[in-house]
């Protein structure tokens, strides 16, 4: 019988096969490290007197705590500073490559790996961070691990794992202008639920996925975890290869040819069987936005806040009630009538160059809505520089928004970039949990295009809501929802 993409990658990394309910031992090709989930792992190594087995397959960056303003000054917050300093010390002690604040390769760990060409098809990638699923966009098996597992990978370059089940998520058709990868994944999560992918590796397939760029594919795989899945994957193709070729750590010359030969085998066989299958029609998708406090609580922007009473399941109903209370929303309110206090454009979901370009294309020549705070945070120092070379920083500043340095920033508010209690934010990040962006903060997850239109109008909006002459190509072919 044929095998799925996920099964092929898995099989090619088997060090030992488990027997009788014991896990398989999988070899890990790339281990990404950041300051939050690693200190206790390095401590564990120190206590046991163990070295890092493969420093040459390990790379660290500072992202979660780093300030996005005045990065040349010492970090004011003491605990943030301690974590960063601890990582720096550990990197020296254990011989790990580290990209610190101020370094051109510094940035969100999931932006840095792909941009360096370290994330390649058919590899196993782990990081003490659930959004490691991002790297699956390259046809890699990539998943988040806990700190004990970080220590385990540092010490052994392997992980004991039980095989995952496989789920095909097929998205066919063409996206309408103004609808993006973010809307696809938000719609997928709303459809299968935040627990729907539990125990599965998702493989995203279909013509709508094939036509996405690598940045869009990363957005999709990034949020697989929000559907409860361990990982999301997309088979590599010419778009993948074009993205990778010439990147600093991608294979070169004869090695590139050898790699390509292998990568071309990384497709799900026609006769392979998935444990579950889901279909979605891209033609029908509209800009999507969340109303609640988990990423599955979303609707099309043209719809209204749902009535909790409409949920047949008692737990769903109770969750919806609690969400509406926290979000201070009344059932039946049209989503487009909801005003925001802030717009956050960033995070490992949507902070790559194409995301910034999409955002800039909408706000260019516009002014932000009165009283709305708009923050644009590139995913990495390199993305920031690339954007500046294209003049995006100026477009952002002219719009009245803040142009920041790279990092996780308001995605989780570990640095000073936080919402105040009660503040409402349209955010391109991936989690709308209670207090995620700051205690008492209220988050609506959106695409970069929706973030931009919302920043212009001050209420949740998409480019379809903007007058034709103000948005050029996007709205001309778009339509009112």
């Amino acid at each position: 019988m044929g095998r799925t993409l996920a099964e092929k990658v898995w099989d090619d990394h088997l060090v030992t096969k488990g027997t009788d309910g014991t896990p398989d031992l999988l070899y890990i090709d790339l281990h990404l490290v950041h300051e939050v989930t690693s200190p206790q792992a390095f401590d564990g190594l120190r206590l046991a007197g163990r070295p890092v087995r493969r420093p040459d397959l390990t790379i660290a960056t500072e992202d979660h705590n780093t300030p996005t303003l005045a990065i040349d000054k010492p970090i004011a917050d003491l605990t943030s500073r301690t974590q960063i300093e601890t990582l720096r010390r550990n990197a020296v002690d254990f011989g790990i490559r580290l990209h610190s604040l101020g370094d051109i390769e510094q940035g969100i760990v999931h932006v840095v790996g792909p941009q360096l060409g370290l994330t390649v098809p058919g590899s196993t990638v782990v990081c003490g961070d659930s959004h490691t699923s991002t790297h699956g966009a390259f046809g890699a098996m990539a998943f988040g691990i806990g700190t004990s597992e970080v220590e385990h990978v540092l010490a052994t370059q392997t992980l004991p794992l039980m095989p995952f089940k496989t789920m095909a998520i097929t998205v066919d058709g063409d996206l309408r202008p103004g609808v993006t990868a973010k809307d696809i994944i938000l719609a997928v999560i709303a459809k299968i639920g935040t627990g729907g992918g539990q125990g599965y590796v998702l493989e995203f397939r279909g013509s709508a996925i094939r036509s996405l760029t690598m940045d869009g594919r990363m957005t999709i795989c990034n949020m697989s975890i929000e559907a409860g899945a361990r990982a999301g994957m997309i088979a590599p193709d010419q778009i993948t290869y074009d993205y990778l070729e010439g990147r600093p750590h991608a294979p070169q010359g004869a090695e590139w040819e050898a790699a390509l030969e292998y990568w071309n085998t990384l497709v799900t066989d026609d006769d392979a069987v998935f444990d579950a299958e889901v279909h979605l029609d891209a033609d029908e998708l509209e800009p999507f936005v969340t109303w609640g406090t988990n990423p599955g609580q979303g609707v099309s922007l043209s719809e209204a806040v749902p009535d909790p009473a409409s949920y047949p399941d008692q737990n769903d109903r109770a969750a919806a009630e609690r969400a509406l209370e926290y979000m201070a929303l009344a059932a039946g309110t049209p989503m487009k009538d909801i005003p925001v206090d802030a717009v956050f454009m960033g995070s490992c979901t949507n902070s790559r160059i194409e995301d910034l370009r999409a955002f800039a294309s909408i706000i260019k020549g516009q002014k932000k809505a009165e009283g709305v705070r708009v923050m644009v945070v590139p995913g990495s120092a390199r993305v920031r520089i690339e954007a500046e070379a294209e003049g995006i920083d100026q477009i952002v500043k002219d719009f009245g928004a803040e142009w920041r340095f790279a990092g996780c920033s308001m995605c989780l508010g570990m640095n000073p970039d936080q919402l105040a209690p009660g503040e409402r934010c349209a955010s391109t990040s991936n989690r709308n949990f209670e207090g995620r962006q700051g205690k008492g903060g209220r988050t609506h997850l959106v695409s970069p295009l929706v973030a931009a239109a919302t920043a212009i109008r001050g209420t949740l909006s998409s480019p379809w809501d903007l007058r034709t002459e103000t948005v050029g190509g996007v709205a001309e072919s778009g339509r009112k929802a």
């Binding site: 070899y27 943030s80 806990g146 570990m414 207090g435």
Partner: protein
């Protein structure tokens, strides 16, 4: 790691579903670099409310948490497990767990057992009648009993064995170190390395 077999202690009900790891321990506490001392961070936001279950006198010294479905979803932070352990919990029972959380708990000696939704409701009802009642969680038999009611929970064989033996993962894996070295000897040379820096 200590061996786990039978846990007996006060059972605390957490009658909520979808308790994600941000609720178990907010991100602000992740800044610490130690592995212990997280007891005050557990359910930090909810504990500001004097009526919250863990603030009630009957549930002081609780060792067994009985939660609604989808406990421990969301972020991979292992701090969620440390906070539960530091607070004094030795077992969490829920109809469904976040995958990463469940993996993490097995590695830290926290027993995560899956019970049915009716059983969760039943246990909550018993505790509501007799707040402060003790539960007995038997890992050998995979049973939980509260008062006269006894039922089973699910935990995979491997995690159960590891908890019973108190085995640490790394030493277990390093028993196969030769196999790892052998695997490395035939890894394709095109696979990227982070060093030297290019």
């Amino acid at each position: 790691m200590n061996k786990v077999s039978v846990i007996r202690g006060v059972a605390a009900p957490l009658e909520r579903s979808n308790v994600d790891t941000d609720q178990i321990i907010p991100a602000v506490f992740l800044k610490r670099v130690t592995k212990t001392g997280f007891e005050d961070a557990l359910f930090y936001a909810w504990r500001q409310d004097p009526e919250f279950v863990l603030n009630r006198a009957e549930f002081q010294n609780a060792r067994v948490l009985i939660a609604g479905p989808d406990f421990g979803t969301g972020s991979s932070r292992e701090h969620a497990v440390w906070a539960l352990r530091d607070y004094g919990f030795d077992a969490v029972l829920s109809p469904r767990f976040g995958d990463i959380f469940r993996g993490n708990s097995g590695k830290q000696g926290l027993l995560s057992g899956e019970i049915s939704e009716p059983d969760a409701a039943k246990l909550w009802a018993i505790i509501a009648d007799r707040p402060g009642i003790e539960a007995t969680v038997d890992l050998v038999e995979r049973t939980v009993s509260v008062g006269d009611y006894s039922t089973t929970f699910k935990i995979d064989d491997y995690t159960r064995w590891r908890l019973l033996e108190g085995l640490d993962d790394i030493s277990l894996t390093l028993r196969d170190e030769e196999r790892i070295t052998e695997f490395e000897s035939h890894r394709a040379s095109w696979r990227p390395r982070t060093l030297p820096v290019r």
